[in-house]
């Protein structure tokens, strides 16, 4: 494998200042092949980073390389081999999905016949069948997201940027989209940079996760390390939350009461089984009615509470 296949994206001290806000500040990250998640709250600088990587926005300082090409000077070359699915709606209502995707394939430099074949193939892969001949105006949000994804894949890019692809989807549509992203990375062999403000959903499909907040890197690590470090058990009982908290604190667990729920933090190096056992014993001994007990790992706010790695 060549070096470019290993490192898809690399930024070095990347900073972007707008007249009033600093969108990115001294961001140094690398992402390899496979599916990389880019997580951050709204306004954390995810979309700005993608625009810089596409070579559409100049950085204030620092450097960014995509597939071993410089984003500042080789934008046009990058855009030939990269696909982009924007966060916002970007589809004209009065053309069919087929026509639209064929047109976008031609805009990527595919000859007309190849564009038609690739559009039919890609729309099938994203799961649009007979409805692709109808005007896009009548599509559901789920179908629109599929068309947006199809136009990003139609020219068989080496890397795709998917900006909030699960936005506005219902749980089933979200699952379908995430499964599709996993397939793009694994089966299609196209590297993916996918953004979301929900770490929980990205951990299911990503190999590597980058978390940014207010334009700064919070952490960048493989998914395995990630979920380990942020394991949290949340408990809800009918009455007697405080005695339970006291009891657990008494045996040396890190507990916190947040409203009607109690959270139990499990350090990365500890055995989670012990915490569960202690919790079970405490609930039994105090004779409490347990309403909910769940593993609440990887919520974005938990990552933000921790110091940056």
């Amino acid at each position: 494998m060549t070096a470019s296949a290993i490192t898809c994206i690399a930024t070095e001290g990347l900073t972007k200042r707008f007249p009033r806000v600093t969108a990115l500040e001294d961001l140094t990250v690398t992402a390899g092949a496979g599916v990389t998640g880019l997580v951050g709250a709204n306004g954390a600088g995810k979309s700005t980073l993608i625009k810089i990587l596409l070579g559409l926005l100049p950085a204030s300082s620092g450097r960014a390389r995509v597939l071993d090409m410089d984003a500042a000077t080789q934008g046009a070359e990058i855009r030939r081999v990269v696909g982009y699915m924007p966060e916002h709606d970007c589809l004209p209502p009065d053309v069919s999905a087929t026509e639209f995707v064929v047109h976008m394939a031609q805009m990527s430099g595919l000859p007309r016949t190849a564009a038609r074949e690739r559009a039919a193939d890609t729309l099938r892969h994203v799961g649009l069948y007979e409805e692709r001949y109808r005007p896009i105006g009548g599509y559901s949000t789920g179908m629109r997201q599929k068309v947006k994804l199809a136009q990003a894949l139609v020219h068989d890019p080496r890397l795709v940027f998917l900006d909030e692809p699960t936005n506005g989807l219902d749980p089933q549509g979200r699952d379908e989209m995430l499964a599709l992203i996993r397939r793009i990375g694994a089966e299609f062999g196209i590297s993916v940079l996918v953004t979301s403000h929900l770490l929980g959903e990205l951990e299911r499909v990503c190999d590597h996760v980058i978390v940014i907040d207010a334009g700064r890197l919070l952490r960048s690590s493989s998914i395995g390390e990630f979920t380990q470090a942020t394991q949290i058990i949340s408990v809800e009982v009918e009455d007697g939350l405080q005695p339970l908290a006291d009891r657990l604190a008494g045996v040396g667990e890190a507990v916190a009461v947040q409203g009607r729920t109690l959270t139990l933090e499990v350090p990365a190096d500890a055995d989670p089984g012990r915490a569960y056992d202690a919790l079970r014993d405490a609930v039994c001994d105090l004779n409490l009615n347990l309403i909910r007990l769940e593993q609440r790992r990887g919520h974005i706010e938990d990552v933000f509470k921790e110091p940056a790695a």
Binding site: L54, L56, L57, A76, R79, R80, V82, G83, Y84, P86, H88, D89, C90, L91, P92, P93, D94, V95, E99, H103, M104, Q106, M107, S108, G109, L110, P111, R112, A114, R118, D121, R124, H125, Q151, H155, D156, R183, E187, F188, G189
Partner: protein
């Protein structure tokens, strides 16, 4: 070499694209063709075809009538260089109806970022749109002119055919097409709503033609003929006609003539430059958002 396998397994898994990847030029050409087809309603809904085809047909009517006149009374009907000025309202309506279609939906539905995330640059995009609308405007005017010329040759009027006039009018049509396309796109691109775009282009035409007529009338009644002739040039159709007069020596369509010299040519170039600069500034803002 292995023998060709006889059985076929249909692989419906993902296949990579190994074929040709053409450059910016081909994307430019594809976008131009796509936009040109769209300007005449091809590849769009049936409703979108009504206006362009109706207006194109109306443009042909004077040519058909002129051919009939030539056949019956052996006399020239509409003169070639007068055709554009004679049919200016129809050309203006065509421009107003079609220029917003070329730019407004991409702004309104935010398709532009998809173009720009491809090898297409802002200048390619604008160039293709301008080329498409210029070609469309040229065709709307050049087809009737050519029909008229073919008719003249077939009817075989007494005296030599008006070949020079025909070619002058065709050259004038090129200039008119470019200036109208530049103005139409610049005006239409300032609003993402197609209806407002149509209104602003038609309002621009009505305003310029009214202002030029009023000033012309006022200056003429005051006896200031030169100022009146200059006022005529506010209307883009008379402006292009004056270029035809200056460059090719055709008879002026307004009857009174225009200011002498090559000033009209300079004005045309300046108007096109201002329109294109406005268009570019508008898109530089849109592209970075």
């Amino acid at each position: 070499m292995m023998p060709e396998p006889t059985g076929v397994i249909h692989d419906i898994g993902y296949r990579h694209y190994e074929g040709a990847r053409l450059g910016r030029g081909s994307a430019f050409a594809a976008l131009t063709v796509h936009s040109l087809r769209g300007a005449f309603g091809f590849g769009r809904t049936a409703r979108a075809k009504i206006m362009p085809l109706l207006l194109s047909t109306i443009m042909l009517l004077p040519a058909v009538v002129s051919i009939a006149i030539m056949a019956l009374v052996k006399q020239q009907g509409v003169k070639y260089p007068d055709y554009a000025v004679f049919m200016q309202a129809v050309l203006a309506v065509f421009l107003a109806a079609q220029s917003p279609y070329l730019v407004a939906p991409d702004l309104r539905f935010r398709v532009l970022p998809l173009y720009l995330s491809r090898p297409v640059a802002v200048l390619d995009y604008l160039g293709a749109k301008l080329a498409a609308l210029s070609i469309a405007m040229f065709l709307v005017l050049a087809v009737p002119l050519t029909l008229l010329f073919a008719g003249e040759l077939l009817v075989d009027l007494p005296g030599p055919p008006h070949t020079a006039e025909y070619f002058s009018a065709m050259a004038g049509a090129v200039i008119l097409a470019v200036i109208l396309a530049a103005l139409g796109l610049a005006l239409a691109s300032f609003t993402p709503r197609r209806g407002l775009g149509v209104a602003s282009v038609i309002a621009f035409y009505l305003f310029t033609s009214a202002v030029s007529a009023v000033f012309y009338g006022v200056f003429m009644s005051m006896g200031r003929d030169t100022a009146g002739k200059w006022a005529m040039l506010i209307n883009p159709f008379f402006l292009v006609d004056s270029v035809q007069v200056a460059l090719f020596g055709t008879a002026p369509s307004n009857g009174d003539g225009y200011p002498p010299g090559l000033w009209p040519c300079l004005i045309v170039v300046m108007v096109i430059a201002v329109a294109l600069a406005g268009l570019f500034l508008r898109y530089r803002k849109a592209a970075s958002s």
